[in-house]
Structures are given as C-alpha cells and as structure tokens.
C-alpha cells in the first residue's frame, strides 16, 4: 500500500510526475473499479429481461437496453393495492429526511460543542450514556418509543417520525462533532470569549464555519440513514407518512410473489439517487486546512 505524503503541489512540469503519484492514481482507480462491480451488475440487470437474467450471465451487457423496468419501478410496480411504483413515497421521504437531518445535525452539533468547550456538570456522564446507548439494538427501543410518542401525542405523525430519527441520530452526530471540536485550538475559543461572544455567538460565528467538513460527514451519514430508513417511518409515521423505502421493500420483498429482479434493481437505484446527489455535491464542503492560519504552533 503506497500512500504518499499529504498535499502535493502542482508541478510545473506535469510529465515529471513522480512514480508514486502515478501509483496513487492506479490504486485509486483500481479501488474505484472494484467498488463499482456490484453497481455495474445492478445497472445491467435493471436493463435485462427476466428471461436474460434467468440465463445467468451476470456480467454480460443486456441484449437490448430498455427503460421499461425503470419506468415500472417508478410508476407502476405493485406495492399493495396500488400499482403506482416508487413515486408514491417520494414526497414523504423528503418531508421526513430534510427536517430530520437538519435537526439531527443541529442538535448534535450544539451538543458536541457544549461537551467539548463548556464544563457542564455530568456532561461527560451524559455523553458516555448516550454513546453506549447508541450500541443498544434500536429495534428493542421501538416498543418503549411507541409508548413514549403515543403518550406525548406524536405517534403516527410526521413530528413523531422526525423525533425518533433525531433521537436515534443523536449519539453518532454528537460524537462526530465532539471529537471534531476537540481538535480545534482552544485559544480560538478563548479569543472569542474575550471578544465578548457568548455561548451561541461562539458557536455560530466561529466554530460552525470551521465545521464544514464535519457537517458534510454528518450530513452524508444522516441523509443515508434517514433516507434509507424503513422501520421508523413505517412504525411511527403511520400510513400517511410512509417513506419511499416502504414501497421499495414492497417491490423487492414479498414472501409469496415471484421476483422481478430487473425492476428491483431499477427501484433500488432510483431510491439511491438522492443520497448519491448529496455525496456528490458535498464535495466543496471538504475544504482543506479549516483551521489553517488560526494559530501559531
């Protein structure tokens, strides 16, 4: 494994690229190809007819490209009484994902900030409990959460789903931010306090702008979790707020039905478009040297 030392300057003479650099590209591309094999299989399968899939040539290109299965997955696959495909839950997925991700990151970032910069009594106990709680199989928590949300009147409402998502996201997002803030020079925090900035001001004006890479990571993580979530939406959303994954599952998983792999693949790929877009656009948030120039030494 060759990893060469960090940020490299662009050479004047592009042809003088050191061997190690070529090696890096070779490795990166090799890994990318390896990572892409399953995706390739999914895509070609989504274009194949069932006939062709049954014939078992996994890696071969389809005889003919037809968008029929994609169309079916989106528009007309049966998911129960309705045969309207995936699109049914699309809006719900947005309604759930956007506020949940936003709130989860907001709450987690503030909590992480408080834990790493402010000395609050029992804060570390709280964090430890939260983190260890994160390891508890969350399926086991569903029953108590059903009781809790129904007691506070959030059961089977959009707010209920969002609440549960935020609760489940809290340990991980808090961890991300707490650890991230721990690496920021403490003198910055001190300087801001001298400047008269209070609790919120320090957070919003100084630390948040420095956290963009971590916001991107937390966003990637939570968008994926929440967009792909099935159980929480199903149980806590009730029929009105069932996310797209419910349809996806209905297309993919049926105990007694025959399976149309091409439609399943198309459906899966269609469902993952949103997270993929998020990944791609998060690029510019991965800025280099967020704290550069802040302190000496």
């Amino acid at each position: 494994m060759t990893i060469t030392n960090g940020p490299v300057l662009v050479r004047r003479n592009a042809f003088a690229a050191p061997l190690s650099r070529i090696l890096v590209y070779v490795l990166l591309i090799a890994i990318a190809i390896a990572a892409l094999v399953p995706l390739y299989v999914m895509i070609v399968t989504a274009f194949k007819s069932m006939e062709e899939i049954r014939s078992g040539t996994l890696l071969s290109l389809p005889h003919a490209f037809s968008f029929e299965h994609w169309h079916k997955a989106w528009n007309s696959a049966c998911t129960g009484l309705r045969c309207e495909g995936l699109k049914v839950g699309f809006v719900n997925s947005f309604l759930i994902t956007i506020p949940s991700v936003f709130l989860a990151i907001a709450v987690g970032a503030v909590t992480g900030y408080t834990l790493s910069f402010w000395r609050v009594r029992f804060a570390n106990v709280l964090f430890t409990v939260m983190l260890i709680g994160g390891f508890f199989p969350y399926q086991v928590l569903i029953y108590p959460l059903v009781r809790i949300t129904s007691t506070i009147g959030l059961f089977n409402s959009l707010a209920g789903v969002i609440f549960v998502h935020v609760v489940f996201a809290l340990p991980v997002v808090t961890l991300l931010f707490r650890n991230y803030f721990a690496s920021i020079p403490i003198d910055l925090f001190k300087a801001a306090r001298i400047d008269g900035a209070g609790y919120w001001r320090i957070f919003f004006s100084i630390l948040l702008p420095m956290s963009v890479p971590m916001i991107a990571v937390a966003g990637i993580l939570q968008v994926t979790f929440i967009w792909n979530d099935y159980i929480v939406g199903l149980v806590f959303g009730g029929i009105n707020y069932a996310p797209m994954t419910v349809q996806l599952n209905n297309i993919v998983h049926s105990t007694y039905g025959e399976r149309e792999y091409n439609v399943e693949m198309a459906a899966t790929l269609l469902t993952s478009v949103v997270p993929l877009l998020v990944y791609f656009t998060s690029g510019r948030w991965f800025v280099r040297g967020v704290a550069s120039g802040a302190v000496k030494g």
Binding site: P185, D187, A191, A192, I194, D195, G196, S205, V290, G293
Partner: protein, 356 residues
Amino acid sequence: MTGVQLRNLAIRYGSVEVLKGINLEIPASEFIVLLGPSGCGKSTLLNAIAGLQDVAEGQILIGEQDMTDVEPKNRGIAMVFQSYALYPRMSVRGNLSFGLKVAKVAKPEIEKRVAHVAKMLQIEPLLDRKPAELSGGQRQRVAIGRAVVRDAGVFLFDEPLSNLDAQLRSDLRVEIKRLHQRLRSTMIYVTHDQIEAMTLADRIVVMKDRIIQQQGTPDEIYNRPANTFVARFVGSPAMNFLDGTISGGDAIVDGQAVPIAAGLSAPLADGRKVIVGVRPEDVTIHADAPGSGLAADIDVVEPMGPEKLVWCKRGEIGLSVKAPSSATVRSGDRVRLGFAEQKLHIFDTETGKRIQ
C-alpha cells in the same frame, strides 16, 4: 479607569503548580511589563486575569471588583494571544470587527475604528484576506489589531511584537505607547524584548520559579536588581558576575583587588563572600599595563553596528564588554579591564540577594 489586583493567586495544571502566591497591585492606567524566562507562567497569568484560566487559589480584582469568577467578556478586557488565535474562516476585516459587532457597536463606528486600526498597523491591503493567506508578521498585526480596536479598560498583550521586523516593531511600540497615553487604559504586557520592556513599562515585574522576583520601575530593575537572577535576566548582554571576597573595602577577585565605591562597601565585613556584578557597559578596556585593573584576554569581538561587543577571558572567568565601535581591539589581545566603582552590584554568594 480600572486597576488590577492579584491577591495570593495560585494556578495549577493538574497537580503541577505553575504560579503560587502571586500578589500584584496594578494601579489604573499603569503600563506593566511582565518579564521572565520562557515557561515561567506569564501567559498563564494573563489567561487567569482574562478569566480564561481556572484559578486554584486567590482573587483577581479588576477595578476594585472581585472578578475571580466573572465571565471574560464582563471583565472589560482586550487581549492579544501569543498564538494569535485568529478566526480562520473570517477575513481580516471580520477578525477585527467581530468583537465590535458582538458588542453591537454601530456600523459606521465599526468601519471607522477598523479603518483606523488597519491604517495604524499597515494592514489595509490585507483586509479581505483570510489568516491562512498572511505571513507570520501580518497575522501578528491582525491579532494586535483585534485587541486594539476594542476600547477596553484593561489590555493584555502576550508578546505582541515578537514576529515583526525592527522598524515595524519600533513603530508599533510607539503606537502602543501612544495608545496607552490616549486611552489611559491599564496595560499588562508580556515581552522578551529588553527595549520594549524598558521603553514601555511604568513598572516591570520579573517572574521566575512560580513567584515574582522583583517589581519596580525600569530604572530600579536595571540599576538595582534585587538578586542575581534579575540582574542577569535584564540587560543584554547579561551582567558579568565575579566571585569575590571582601577585604578592606575592596573585593578580591581571582587574587586581584577590585575597588568598590565606599557607599556600596560600607555594610560589608571583611572576609565575606560576595558576588560582584558589573554590566558590560560599565567595563572599560585599557591597554595592558601592570596594576591598572583586571588582566584578561580578548576572546571574540562582535560588531553590532554602533558598538562592539567584546568577550574577554580571564582563566575560567568570562566577561563581556560593550566598547564603542571605534575601539581597536582584536581577538587574542591581552588587555586590562577597569570597572566603574559606583556601578558595581554586590550580591550575597549564598542567597544571591542584593546587599545593601
């Protein structure tokens, strides 16, 4: 205007005591310079005054009020950090105006003050850059600007000029002095630069080994150092020390008598072991002639522009001498050194304390 008082302050990092029993009275509007070897706790003390460092024992009073447990922002202070601590995602302008914005100063007023400070610190062309795009000295100027732009009652400076070029340094030194005269704020200033200490300070505080060694006007510190540590620490090159024994008003050093002014030698009993201190500028170099001073060999001669630094040797003893650059001395010459009788400093050999 607000004075600062430290009462019996002690500060610990974990179990390590960094400062103890610090008592310091800083009258309002005084300009105080903290001097001390690296690691003696100067930054720590500034942090404590600012409220950024937990105090283990004692009290901090600012403007007569006990501020030991008060929020930094309510102490009415401004501070320049040794590590700069610039806000990395803000432009220079943002860095300068942040504190004012927080304090809800009106926009035109902010602009005015920022413009003024930027001009004073010669960072106007840099206002829209990010800290990462600045040179070391430029960063430091921004850090200074951030403190100066606020009209605080107490200013804390942690080695504000250390990365600047000589010219800018002397310009800023004058600027800070002027700022002090204009604002009459109390200023607490850490530096390693003798000239800064001497020219800026109303009073200098010399620290070492967790405690304050001496405090006094620059003149007192320079001319009447309380112990060998202070004597050696203040003044560059450092004071020369000679081990001697008192004999009839003279000090016998390495077998040769060094005359001491009568006023100084009065309290000294014959046979007492002392350390005789003499500053390089109080030594004169004569041609080698018997009887007229301490014989020594010239080791190294360092030209320093307006003058020469001459390092002499007499056996084990090393002595530095400041000579005019016109002096004709060469490495290897044998010379005689004369000491200004009145300017000698006598310390007790055991305790290192000044005798008088």
